[in-house]
Structure formats: C-alpha cells, structure tokens
Amino acid sequence: MHPAPSVIIFTTFSGFGFGLLFWLGIGMPAPTGWVALVFFAIAYIMSVGGLLASTFHLGHPERAFKAFSQWRSSWLSREGICAVATLLIMAIYGAGLVFFGAQWTVLGWLGALGALLTVFTTSMIYAQLKTVPRWKHWTTPALFLILSIAGGALFSGNIKTAIPLLIIAAALQAFAWFHGDGRFNASGTTMESATGLGHIGKVRAFEPPHTGTNYLMREFIHVVGRKHATQLRIVALVLGFVLPVILLLLGAKHVLGLLAVVSHIAGILALRWLFFAQAEHVVGLYYGKR
C-alpha cells in the first residue's frame, strides 16, 4: 500500500493523542489549573491534528460530515463518531479540571473508554480488509491499542507503567511482523485464483492494460520501500522501544524524558511507515506484482 504521509501522521499522532486522553480520563494524572491546560492542549493538538491530517487525503473534505452516517456497517464512520464524542466528553472533563479544579470522575472514565474505542475503530478500518492479508489479523487492533496506551503513558508521565507497556508493545510488534510476513501466501489468493486460469498452467502477466500507470498501481503496489524493510524494522524497534526504555530507566526527568518521547515518536513513525509500505493488496496479482 502507498505509505501516504497524511495517513501515517494521522494514525501515529491521533494514537498518541487518544492514548494521552485515556490516561487523563482515568485520572492518572489529574492535574488542575495551568498544568491541566498544558496536558489537555498537548492531547488535543495531537488527536485533532491527526484527524485533520487524515482529511488531507480526501477528494472532498468539505463533505466529511457525511461520514458520520453509516455507523451500522462502516468502521470509518464509527471511528469518526467515536473520535468526536470522545473529544467532546474530554473537553467538558478538561474544563472541569482547568477552570473549576473539579474532577468529574464518571465523565473522565467515559472519555477514557471513548479514547480506547476510537483507537480500536481506527485499527479496524485496516484489520477488516480481507484484501490486505497482512492487516486482517487480531494483531492489528491489539498493536494499535497497546501502542496508543504505551505512548499515552509516556506522554502523561506514567513512567512506571510506560516501561512494561513499551516492552509488551515491542514484543507484540515483533510477533506481528514475523507472523504477517507469511500471511499473504497463507491467504490462498494467487495469480491463478485471481485469473481462474490455474487449471491450464502457470500464469504470468504478459502485458498490462495500459502503457503508463494508474490509480490502482499508485495506491496499492508499493515495491520500492520494501527493499530496506529489515533495517527499518530494527531502527523502529530501537528508536520506538529500546532507547526510550533505557532512557526511562536512567531517570525520567527533563532532558532524558524528552529524549525518550522524541525517540519514541520517531520509532512509531517508522513502524507506521512500514505498516503501510509492507502491506500487500491482492489486486497487485492482476499486475503480476505484490
């Protein structure tokens, strides 16, 4: 799949933003006044910024409100509803902390639940697609959730919880990569099943339907980036998990803490890039590609 910057930024930062909102919602921490304002501002900049970035790849962003209508069948629609509802609930909860110094616990927990649901619905947009065997697996929602909660723990300063969460997330990511590598072949979709010509013999793409390229090839067939996948995986693991954990163990204050956060963001951006670049869509088979 084409690793579009808008979608990578969207999934990464809205993941962090809603992860931070989750921790704020359950009252870990529950700051008041100015400190609360800063925490909530960071959470909203990341979550709302991420959502806005995702509208950049729409053909008609001005009609985006229509996307709230099909929650009965569409995960994308459900995501939109969960995101807006969570942001509204947490705005009220945040206003309580900032302006009244009051912690409306029930509202906070509701917002925390909404934040998790938002991340889950985002992940299901990808995990539902049978056409991308690498994504259609329980590890996709599991990873989105744990990465969001771990990142949120880091941003909210829950260091003691962040360390084990980061280690679990790294292990799950490694497993998802390892298992995902074999899923296209295991899906049973081949050039022979795509063309129905397998009963005659081995099928080879002889001539594409056009001289140039097309939307499908640009969107679904991304071969270039996969060349350095192994190196990038190592970079993502080191930056995203190993380095932050070491820095946090050294002492989470100030510069080290900031470095841990920056390193984690870079690592997650790298693994999100791989999430898209390494995902192969079955339509590539019609072009003799993966």
Partner: protein
C-alpha cells in the same frame, strides 16, 4: 445506505468469454466514451499527450501468458496468451459497499447493480481498498470514486433503440466475447452459457460472491502425428537415367558447375 440489501432475485451482470476475447480494447474505449459523457462526472486523463499518461478507466484488459505444465515423455505444450477484460463484478457480498462511511456506495435492491452516488462521496478511497479486483478508481481530477455502472443509463433507457439497451462494452465487442443478462434467472441465456461452459468466479476465496462470470478458454486441439504427403515425397533415385540425368552431368562438367 451501506448495509447490503438481501440478495436480489434479479442479478444483472456480464459473462466474459476468455476463449473468444481477442484483446482489442474496443470495450475499454466504448466504456470510456459512454461513461465520460453520461452518468456522473467525466473520466479524467492526466498528461494524456505528454508522457507518463494516466487516466480513469472502468474497464481494463490485461493479457496473461499461461504455460501448461511440461509432462514427461510429451512435447512441451506451447504457452497460451489470454486476454482478460476486468471491470466491476457487481458482487453479491460487496465489501466495497459496507466499508463506505457516507452511504455513497450502494447496491441496488431491484437488480443488484453496485453504484456510487457521487454527490455523497468524500473520496476517501476505502471502497477501492476493500475491492479485491481493482474495479474502483478514484478520479484524480474530480476526487470522487468511479466504477462500472453496468451502463445503468443505457440498459433501461427507452430513448435508445432496443438493440442499444445493453452495456456499451457488450454492444461494441467485435468478437462476441461479452454477454449481458440476468444471472439470477437460471433460464436466462447468460445462465445457460455459464452452466454449459463451466463459468467461474474470480478469487472465490475472497468471499465476495461476484455476479459476473468468466468462461474458461477452450482446450487447444492436439495435432496428431501424421503426414498424408510423406509417401509421395520419398527421395528420388540418385543414379538417374535419361535426359535430366545427362543434363545434370553436363552442367556439372562445365567450369564452376555445381557437383
């Protein structure tokens, strides 16, 4: 409404004969011609005359080479070239419809045709991600999703002469490789054709239950090893007699003559 309706009794679709298609792309051009002027926004092209050309098409023809397996003690069968037109298959269990967040994608209750209401489409592209067949293309100029409409604006169009009330691709195919009809009706011409020729689904394992069917190429004839002329072509005696033989020797005896 992007939840799927219960399967319709009437299932309009195409049957494409891979044995007959000659890969002329007439169906591609007539499809683009009709659909750029009629239903919805035009099908745009980018850099059409300046290299790196690209454009929106609802029907595309691939070509595949299929190599039959080489069997022991048999001469290798020659590879076959098969032209392969592909457009929306109007699936019964259409994943492109259920993923759509706006309700722009829908499947018609009355005849099973899958359409996009372009006024509601936000151009998110998710339906194209969900289609295993590459049947949907986001138009680069208009930012909305385009797909085969089964020429819904021809097949019911009473302003057209009777013989034109079929999809543009079917009407224009010079080889008769494309057939249009109701695949929900077991007695229809297309259903009978599918039954007789062993029509099949593309990527059945994706569970989309396509309406369109493909007819396999017929088996190639195997030429038996015989030659009716062979007995008459036996070599003629080398030590000939008579005039031709004398001429042969005389010419060979000339300086530079062939021996």
């Amino acid at each position: 409404m992007t939840t799927l309706p219960p399967p319709s009794a009437k299932k309009l679709g195409l049957v494409i004969d891979l044995d007959t298609c000659v890969g002329c792309h007439a169906c591609v051009i007539s499809c683009k011609g009709w659909n750029t002027e009629n239903y919805g926004v035009p099908l745009s092209d980018q850099n059409a005359y300046a290299g790196a050309a690209s454009g929106t098409f609802l029907n595309r023809v691939h070509s595949y080479e299929v190599q039959p397996p080489i069997l022991k003690d048999q001469p290798a069968a020659p590879a076959q070239l098969i032209h392969f037109p592909k457009s929306c298959l109007h699936c019964d269990d259409a994943p492109c419809v259920t993923v759509c967040p706006t309700g722009a994608s829908y499947k018609r209750v009355e005849d099973g045709i899958v359409l996009v209401n372009e006024k509601d489409c936000i151009g998110c592209g998710l339906c194209a991600w969900a289609c295993p067949y590459g049947a949907r293309e986001l138009d680069a100029k208009e930012g909305v999703m385009k797909k085969c409409t089964l020429c819904v604006d021809r097949i019911y169009n009473e302003n057209l002469p009777e013989e034109d009330r079929q999809p543009a691709c079917v009407r224009s195919c010079p080889a008769g490789a494309r057939h249009f009809g109701d695949l929900g009706d077991e007695t229809s011409d297309v259903s009978i054709l599918v039954a007789e020729r062993g029509g099949f689904d593309l990527m059945p394992e994706q569970g989309t239950k396509p309406t369109n069917k493909y007819l396999p190429p017929r088996p190639k004839d195997v030429e038996p090893e015989y030659d009716i002329l062979a007995p008459y072509l036996e070599p003629i005696a080398e030590d000939g007699k008579g005039f031709v033989s004398w001429l042969d020797k005389a010419l060979s005896a000339l300086p530079g003559g062939a021996k």
